[in-house]
Amino acid sequence: MKFPGKGLLDGVFVTVRNFVGSYFEKDRLVTVQYPEERVSLPENSRAFPFLVYDGTPDKMRCTGCRICEVECPPQCIYIVMDRDEKGKPLQRPKIFDIDISVCMQCQICVEVCPFDSIKMDNDYEKSRYGRFDELMVHLPDLLKSNEYYHKIKPAEATAVDAKLKAAAEKKAKKLVSPAPPATGTTPKTA
């Protein structure tokens, strides 16, 4: 049956159904009470970048090559390469800062990194009380272990490990006659 004003009444029935239903059907309420309950994020969710090290923090994969600094669209990365007394580069960063107030979580740094060193973390709770210094993350805080990487993104980390291992084996085969390289910064697959 159709009569003038039926649309208005239909609307009322819809809202009343929602109102009453929200008290009886639990799956209607999609609100998550955030600090107490959390949604488990998908594995490939991403928040801010971090640096992977193998074993101990001094064996970081990063070589301080500054590719990510150059590629970063909002230019939130600042890197100074470490050098010894004679000015020879040590293939590791002395300063590695990421301004997470500027970072837009685009993952381009991860894409361009040739050493699989910089990866996306999924820890999004980065709010701080200050606007400037507190939001500048320095090298010690950026470094996370490979185990942590395995924990947050198992599939991706396994793939990366396999790739690095293959690369190392290839390199080892190629350099079978000369002595193995003495540099400690070569990624270990351990």
Partner: protein, 405 residues
């Protein structure tokens, strides 16, 4: 107030407890009665207002399958206190070029006018601040006066959005007052029909008492008659329009004119405007209950000792239902356009209100029994069908713009 005064007088003249009040003069007791009733009204309805903001947000949340405020206090009950504190701490800004005096006076005047409505609202049996013999007329007079307070605020802000909102609100309230008053006329006619020798009254208490009797004190409510139902709907729509609630919140349509007449208000003055709007809403819902839903009547109000307590309970219960309907309307219907607003008032509501009076005549002269019931229902249904042309006018035509084309 009168009940309280009589109570004080009876205590004074009572020999056993009279020595406590014996020294007090009668005018002193009257002053005490006035002050107590005013303070009671302020306390009850301002608390109700604070609570209502929470209820509204909760209800709207549930309608949208959300939880609503639930952080401050148990299930968010202290949210109004937090809101109040926040708004009190805000800076009070008077725009440069604004008319400072009018800008200051407008919210005060608006709140005063809204509070005046509660003076004639019967909350329970014998519980009314002043039983004016012009009761309902007083309500409409006060409602008419509130328009100017809104205009004052909008004009004094010297902001085009404020002025637009103020003019919209003036036009809207003036337009919707006509069908609202006419819907009330039917009630007054019914009161006159129920009174002895056809003597009617405008007093709100007599309107309630005219609906007394019948089963459980409920079958005499005007809403159960066809003209009463139509009058209720018309009055309810008028209430929504006069308190500028969705779907008639054009005076403060945020998507068009920022916030309407209180765009330039902040801090405490803004709070006064909000308070006034909610109080108008509560009061008008209360008058709807008074006029169509039997006011404080309900099962058990005639009982000797606890009757008045039950009457308060029934009034508040009905008031809550009305307020829930208002919130439901806000949660359901989208805002109308300005031309729809005016067309709705003048082309549908006004003729329906006039037909409603005729329908009451049918009901009255056909013996106010089942025959009259069906006759007036038929008149109303036919009139509604004719006015809406069988639903043809619900399909909106293409809008033509007079100046831009």
């Amino acid at each position: 107030m009168e009940t309280l005064y009589q109570l004080l007088i009876s205590i004074k003249t009572d020999p056993s407890v009279g020595r406590w009040l014996g020294f007090a003069p009668d005018w002193g007791l009257r002053a005490v009665a006035i002050v107590v009733s005013v303070v009671l009204i302020l306390a009850v309805f301002l608390t109700l207002f604070a609570f209502l903001t929470w209820v509204e947000r909760k209800t709207l949340g549930r309608i949208q399958n959300r939880l609503g405020p639930n952080r401050v206090g148990p299930i968010g009950l202290f949210q109004p206190i937090a809101d109040g504190l926040k708004i009190l701490l805000k800076e009070d800004i008077i725009p440069r070029g604004a008319d400072a005096l009018c800008h200051f006076l407008a919210p005060v005047l608006f709140l005063t006018v809204s509070l005046m409505l509660f003076a004639v609202l019967p909350i329970g049996r014998g519980l009314i601040a002043v039983d004016l013999n012009i009761g309902i007329l007083f309500v409409f007079a006060v409602g008419a006066a509130s328009v100017l307070a809104l205009f004052m605020g909008g004009w004094a802000s010297r902001n085009k959005f404020s002025l637009l909102g103020a003019m919209r609100s003036v036009a809207q309230i003036v337009s919707y007052e006509v069908p609202t008053v006419l819907a009330a006329v039917v009630v007054l006619m019914a009161v006159s029909a129920a009174g002895k020798q056809g003597v009617g009254s405008l007093s709100t208490v007599s309107i309630v008492e005219a609906q007394a009797g019948g089963q459980m004190n409920a079958s005499g409510w005007f809403i159960f008659q066809p003209w009463g139902l139509v009058g209720f709907i018309l009055f309810f729509i008028g209430t929504l329009a006069e308190s500028a609630r969705t779907p008639f919140d054009l005076p403060e349509a945020e998507s068009e004119i920022v916030a309407g007449y209180h765009t330039e208000y902040s801090g405490f003055k803004f709070a006064l405007f909000q308070m006034g709007e909610y109080l108008v809403m509560i009061a008008m819902s209360g008058f709807t209950v008074t006029m169509f839903l039997g006011g404080y009547l309900g099962p058990g109000v005639d009982m000797p000792r606890i009757g008045w307590l039950l009457s308060i309970f029934w009034f508040l219960a009905k008031l809550s239902i009305m307020i829930f309907l208002v919130i439901l309307a806000r949660g359901t219907w989208p805002r109308v356009r300005v031309d729809q607003l005016m067309g709705f008032a003048w082309k549908l509501l006004l003729p329906m209100a006039l037909v409603n009076i005729v329908a009451f005549g049918f009901w009255f002269y056909l013996g106010s029994g089942a025959r009259g019931w069906f006759a007036s229902a038929t008149v109303l249904v036919v009139a509604f069908a004719l006015l809406t042309r069988g639903g043809a006018s619900t399909r909106l035509g293409k809008r033509t713009y007079r100046y831009s084309n």
